[in-house]
Symmetry: C2
Subunit: 345 residues, 2 copies
């Protein structure tokens, strides 16, 4: 229909051989010119590169991968794609991967160890060049990842880190700081009875966040009250149980909540409303998440902790590619921290 000036696009994609013929040069010269070999004459290089551009030459990835013995595929194992954190992190990973000539295979574990093991096996068989993993909520045994190690396939763990110290590469949110700031904000707003709703105890961020909370209390000279701390996971029932614990004694009821996850707060508030808790409308809360639909809620959190999932994902794959390219030794364990941002609504 519209203008199409370049009719060079033929049916069979152009190869090095064809390019070489056009240029009346050998295939190796062309290859080396395109790859900027120092032994190739500068004038020749320019000539070749110009022609390549003109004919829309695109190297065949399969051939290169075959030669380089790489698959250019990265495996990503994560609990699910319904959680916005993971969706957004995948976006960061996918963008960066594509830009660097890699593809990703995504495996969801539904937070089940068994599925995590299966995914690891599947990805091993797919000959991935590297792995990015957000462990399931109760992964303690990491032996299903040993096979990668013995093949020299690097793994970067992201977001979720086991609560014991695992010698590995990791990219984590600086969740201590985030939780400190959130607690501090609530204190500044006059709260004294601030509850902490923690997540799965197997994951280290649960403790980091708790420490942020504790430290903010301490720095503001507010005594710590163990009754104001409860733990849950991603299950609604467990959250309700935790809330019941926190609000067991009406007199002592907290006036503010800090939660390891924003979604948990929604369940919490919903429950408090359902039992017609007298102060529910006064309770102020902050959680990790920054979900976009907060604006539709009747009793929204007063602030959110934006975890920058895209950035976490990008840092994870960026590190992984450096490990794959051996820019960083696989034994030189890295720990990258990505800051959160407290967003007041």
């Amino acid at each position: 229909m519209c203008c199409r000036p370049e009719k060079t696009m033929s049916n069979t994609p152009i190869t090095l051989k064809l390019l070489a013929e056009k240029l009346k040069m050998s295939v190796s010269t062309v290859s080396k010119a395109l790859n900027n070999y120092p032994t190739i004459n500068e004038h020749t290089k320019k000539h070749v590169q110009d022609m390549a551009r003109e004919l829309h030459y695109m190297p065949n990835k399969s051939a290169i991968n075959l030669k380089e013995k790489k698959s250019r595929v990265i495996g990503v194992i994560l609990p699910n794609l319904l959680d916005h954190f993971f969706t957004r992190s995948i976006y960061g990973i996918e963008q960066f991967a594509t830009q660097n000539g890699y593809h990703i295979i995504i495996r969801q574990t539904n937070d089940e160890l068994e599925e995590e093991i299966q995914s690891a096996d599947m990805l091993l068989k797919s000959r991935v060049d590297g792995l990015i993993v957000a462990i399931s909520k109760n992964t303690q045994d990491f032996s299903h990842f040993n096979q990668f190690e013995s093949l020299g396939i690097p793994i970067v763990y992201y977001t979720r880190n086991p609560s014991f110290n695992l010698n590995c590469h990791k990219v984590l949110g600086n969740t201590f700081k985030g939780c400190y700031e959130a607690t501090d904000l609530l204190i500044k707003r006059g709260h004294r009875k601030i509850a902490y709703l923690g997540g799965p105890k197997m994951i280290s961020f649960t403790h980091d966040r708790f420490n942020g909370y504790i430290n903010a209390l301490k720095d503001n000279n507010i005594p710590f009250d163990a009754n104001l701390v409860a733990y849950t996971d991603f299950d609604k029932e467990n959250t309700i149980a935790a809330i019941q614990k926190l609000f067991a004694d009406g007199n002592q009821a907290p006036t503010a909540l800090v939660a390891f996850k924003e979604l948990i707060l929604f369940d919490a508030i919903k429950y408090l409303r359902s039992i017609d808790h007298p102060q529910v409308k006064q309770i102020e809360c902050i959680g990790f998440g920054n979900n976009s639909f907060i604006s539709y809620l009747d009793l929204p959190p007063i602030a959110s902790l934006e975890e920058n999932p895209e950035s976490v994902g990008e840092n994870a794959i960026s590190l992984l590619l450096k490990l794959i390219d051996k820019e960083i030794s696989i034994k030189n364990y890295q720990k990258v921290m990505v800051d959160c941002k407290l967003v007041v609504h």
Copy 2:
């Protein structure tokens, strides 16, 4: 740490050649045995296949792709990944693709034609074997996809279809039926003034859904009132403008809403609350989406139209792979409809 009985996994992955050596056969026999060639002796086949399994032989994809002149990469162009519909559809696509040895490259257009064009160019250069596209909200000119056609690279359009009849392969939600059922439900609940909030006019589902609405009215002998119809897109401002139109005259205010998208309803309700519309609490609405956080809303829709995005995605890639494999001729344009489900909350 734990038991690891199979120590066969060596550092260099096993190839056909190695397998052939072990078996004292030629590489071609082994290849043909694994690919179940009829000229190979059944006994030999079994022997080869047993050994392959034992040694964990996995064919090298790059080599096969090189030989077959395929990239085994599918490009997916869609407006964004923040919308749950697309996230869920990507899940369906990714699962099916991986199972069939394909990878996907995801490109987000942010509903901008310009970015759609760029994505198409990028994917062409990546030598994708096929394309799955959800067009941006105002794509009318499809010439940026012509290049694929002329190279014989199949395209499947999904979810979003241009409002004029484009000769192409498409996988769409049966959104007429969904909207009919939603409207019908509202009528059954006693509503007579039911508004229809339509989406971008360039996309065919806007009209299909409108027809569902109209037909339900007709079948229930309710006169059509043009004042009860307004159009918006994904922008909040436009939605507010549409709502202002619908609720312009207090007397005539609708008591129920059907929207082309659930998220739009949230904006609508929020606005009506903000202007303290007297009947806001009585208004019942239904939209396409079935968002999980509905349960947190104060005034939730009474029902949702579950569009089964995973199924839409799966149908799209399933069709695409058939086109790639030439099981279906590329000129034999297919139209697949995926049913919605009305979920009453």
